[in-house]
């Protein structure tokens, strides 16, 4: 299978994480690590850009769930942006739109933080 990549960009107090490739049980720890780093740095206003994510498994979805409670308790959030149709279907089926802010593009997600 094709690889997996995590990149990060900081915009003022907001951090954007770019996921690329396949997020499954094997690659989930990479994503987990990068989220943990953000939490450790106290950068808890997070946007995850999924434009280049081809596949997400239940283990990948689990990573979001593992962090969201702590981050929200600290006053932060994880917002999802730029999901492909296929990935959106997975999130949608699972009911993520109820649990997370899912936005059309990265800018909207960043703007949403700035609003509230």
């Amino acid at each position: 299978m094709s690889g997996f990549e995590v990149k990060r960009k900081d915009v003022e107090t907001i951090s954007v994480i770019y996921l690329k490739g396949y997020l499954d049980a094997h690659t989930a720890p990479d994503f987990e690590k990068s989220l943990q780093t953000l939490v450790d740095e106290d950068r808890i206003r997070i946007v995850v850009n999924l434009a280049e994510l081809n596949y997400i498994s239940s283990a990948g979805l689990g990573v979001f769930m593992g962090f969201i409670e702590d981050i929200r308790n600290k006053g932060g959030d994880i917002k999802l942006a730029e999901l492909t149709e296929k990935v959106f279907r997975v999130f949608d089926l699972l009911g993520f739109p109820v649990l997370y802010d899912i936005l059309e593009n990265e800018q909207d997600a960043i703007a949403k933080y700035e609003e509230g």
């Binding site: 769930m65 089926l93 699972l94 109820v98």
Partner: protein, 698 residues
């Protein structure tokens, strides 16, 4: 085949011996009848001697009669025979001085004894040649066989050529010059003979097989034997010459061969004596190492292995004490010791730690000649019974140090420099044995683990419905194909009375043991609660409450709950984050995509507020298809997913076949699609058909 060859050889040897003896007997008879006079009798006698000798020489060339004898025994036998030979010749020459030749009557009287003794001497010579051959053929080279053959031919030719000696006996010089006497032809042959014996003399490999003491004793013995043989030179011709030229010359030529070979061997022995001790030690070292690998290689238990290693170290190095420290995560701890107290080693720990550090850096065997003067131990504590010399070597496998081995003697300078090499090789053997033991342990563990997985898989498979429900108006069929030994997919049926059937399909996120536990738990919850709930939605909310409290945060369960109510002829459907159920009517497929979050993801309020339920009235012929994501996510070798599109299409064109047949078709189609690609995830599906009352009518 081999046995046949051996017996052939024995037989030919026996026949030749008989020929030889018969010829010798005839020889003696003729001699005693006709006396020494007469040209014809002389010629007949020489011809018989010729035959006997030819037979004897062929026999020697063919026979390896002392093949199975030990080297030392051979040398002993050789010495005995030489001594015997010397005795005979001495006896002959003493009993029959040369003057006897001139007294025909006296000569005639003693002729039988003379003949017997000469024959005996010839036989002894042949036996000696035979032993010589086995010595020469220790580690034979390419030309060994040829050289030996040449030498034997020369012995024979030189002996036979004496037949043509024309001069009188009195003319012979009985000194050393006798060895190269006769006409130019005879002399040439004798020189060639001496030369070939010299070549054979270089074949002394047997010397390597003697240890130091044996070399010493053989040298002494050899010198003695050489003196004896040399002393015989003037006596050999003597009376024997009158008896038979050929046999006399044969004895003489054999003597020449023995002297040349004997001297060469002595030279070889003398040259090797200075290094004999070292050679011995090397041989011993190699033998010890072989012994270690033989012993250690068969021990797979770590504890036994350490014990054996200590025993062997004491024996091989003749050490007084030894111990092994094993390394685990940069920390050394004493594994076992012998000949030394644990308490004592504990007191020396600080010094030993420094020592181990140095050895790790240098990676070589350290030899401390005197512990009390050594830089590591000079200033440390001096416990009672501590001192002498010490050898330390790392036990390393590939590039990893697994531990360290110590061996010591009570007296300073107890080890020689060569012990380093031996100890290093020894420790390498120990390291290999450790690695073997470790691998064996791992493979046993792996087997046990595999077996446990198999048991877990079996247990999990038993959690799936063991029989299909038999309701008059419903036909049900389901399957679950796991990708790993323990998967996260499950489905279940709950029959409540004759008119209600709950069908559940679910997927626990992740796989393995944790997923299996939740699966077992969910089955229990569903089976026990189903009768108390009248709607799938209420059921799912209850399950979510239960899971949310104690499930790990990054885990969740998706579930699809269908409640068939045959009294009301309806089905209630609720979906908690799961792939939607398909409602098939004829060739029309509708996915029931009601809202609902996965179980364990949201708290009670959020979960229940977003969970919807759909009520569908049942029409005979209605089918419902439930599946897990593994089914649509399976890929073909090109990497394309099966996808919902293909699934919908397949269901549309399935026709009105029974549910079992339809499930089989789905499995076949997916199998065909995936071809050789491996299944990544579990695949589960359930198909339900509402047949209405038609079964009643049947």
């Amino acid at each position: 085949m081999k046995i046949g060859q051996t017996s052939m050889r024995t037989w030919s040897g026996m026949i030749l011996t008989i020929v030889f003896l018969v010829a010798a007997a005839l020889h003696v008879t003729i001699f005693s009848l006709s006396g020494a006079s007469g040209w014809i009798s002389k010629s007949v006698q020489e011809i018989l001697a010729f035959c006997a000798l030819l037979a004897g020489i062929i026999w020697v060339n063919r026979q390896f009669c002392f093949e199975n004898m030990g080297l030392v025994q051979k040398l002993r036998l050789l010495s005995g025979l030489v001594l015997f030979f010397w005795g005979i010749i001495k006896l002959v020459s003493g009993a029959y001085p040369l003057e006897i030749y001139y007294d025909t009557a006296a000569f005639g009287r003693s002729i039988i004894w003379l003949a017997l003794q000469i024959s005996l001497a010839v036989i002894v010579c042949l036996l000696l040649l035979c032993i010589l051959k086995t010595l020469v053929f220790v580690q034979p080279g390419r030309g060994t066989s040829r050289s030996f053959m040449l030498m034997m031919i020369m012995v024979f030719t030189a002996s036979v050529s004496s037949f043509f000696y024309t001069g009188s006996v009195e003319d012979l010089d009985f000194g050393q010059a006798f060895f190269f006497s006769g006409n130019p032809f005879q002399i040439t042959i004798q020189i060639v003979l001496a030369f070939s014996a010299l070549i054979i003399g270089f074949r002394c490999k047997w010397i390597h097989y003697l240890n130091k003491t044996q070399k010493l004793s053989t040298t002494g013995l050899g010198i003695g034997l050489m003196v004896l043989l040399f002393s015989l030179i003037p006596y050999v011709p003597g009376v024997a010459m009158h008896y038979s030229y050929i046999l006399c010359y044969f004895i003489k030529n054999a003597l020449l061969v023995f002297i040349i070979y004997g001297n060469m061997a002595l030279l070889g022995l003398l040259l090797q004596l200075p290094s004999a001790g070292l050679m011995d030690r090397r041989t011993n070292d190699i033998r010890s190492l072989q012994q270690i690998s033989a012993i250690i290689g068969t021990v797979y238990d770590r504890g036994d292995l350490i014990k054996k290693a200590l025993e062997q170290a004491l024996e091989i190095l003749q050490a007084d004490f030894t111990w092994i420290d094993l390394k685990e995560e940069d920390h050394y701890s004493l594994a076992a010791c012998s000949g030394i107290e644990t308490v004592l080693l504990k007191r020396l720990e600080t010094q030993l730690k420094l020592l181990r550090g140095v050895i790790e850096d240098k990676d070589e065997v350290m030899l401390i000649h005197d512990i009390h003067r050594d830089r590591f131990f000079r200033h440390g504590p001096r416990p009672y019974l501590w001192g002498g010399s010490l050898l330390v070597a790392p036990i390393r496998f590939k590039h990893e140090i697994r531990g360290m081995m110590f061996a010591g003697k009570r007296e300073p300078f107890g080890f020689v420099e060569e012990s380093r090499g031996l100890f290093r090789a020894f420790c390498n053997q120990v390291a290999i044995a450790f690695e073997n033991a470790r691998l064996v342990e791992i493979s046993i563990e792996r087997e046990v683990y595999k077996e446990e997985l198999r048991v877990a898989h079996q247990a999990q498979m038993r959690l799936l419905p063991q029989r299909t429900p038999e309701l008059p108006e419903l036909e049900v069929s389901g399957f679950c194909l796991t990708a790993n030994d323990i998967g996260g997919d499950f489905y279940d049926y709950v029959e409540i009375g004759k008119h209600r059937l709950d069908v559940v399909i679910g997927d626990v996120s992740g796989k393995g043991a944790a997923a299996a536990f939740y699966m077992a738990e969910l089955k229990g919850i569903i089976q026990s609660l189903a009768a108390h709930f009248k709607s799938p939605r209420a059921m799912l909310i209850q399950i979510n409450d239960f899971l949310k409290n104690h499930m790990e945060r990054n885990m969740f369960v998706t579930m699809l709950y269908l409640m068939f109510d045959l009294t009301r002829q309806q089905v209630l459907v609720a979906r908690a984050g799961h792939e939607p159920a398909g409602h098939i009517q004829g060739n029309e497929v509708r996915w029931i995509e009601k809202n609902g979050i996965g179980l364990g993801l949201a708290d009670h309020e959020l979960f229940s507020s977003s969970l919807e339920e759909e009520k569908i009235p049942l029409v005979p012929g209605d089918r419902f298809f439930l599946y897990t994501d593994g089914l649509i996510e399976i890929r073909n070798p090109e990497g394309d997913e099966f996808g919902t599109g293909r699934l919908t299409e397949m269901l549309q064109h399935a026709g009105a076949q029974p549910v079992q047949a339809m499930n089989k078709m789905i499995r076949d189609d997916i199998g065909q699609f995936a071809a050789e690609a491996t299944q990544q995830d579990d695949m589960t599906a359930v198909m339900i058909e509402y047949t209405g009352n038609k079964h009643h009518s049947k």
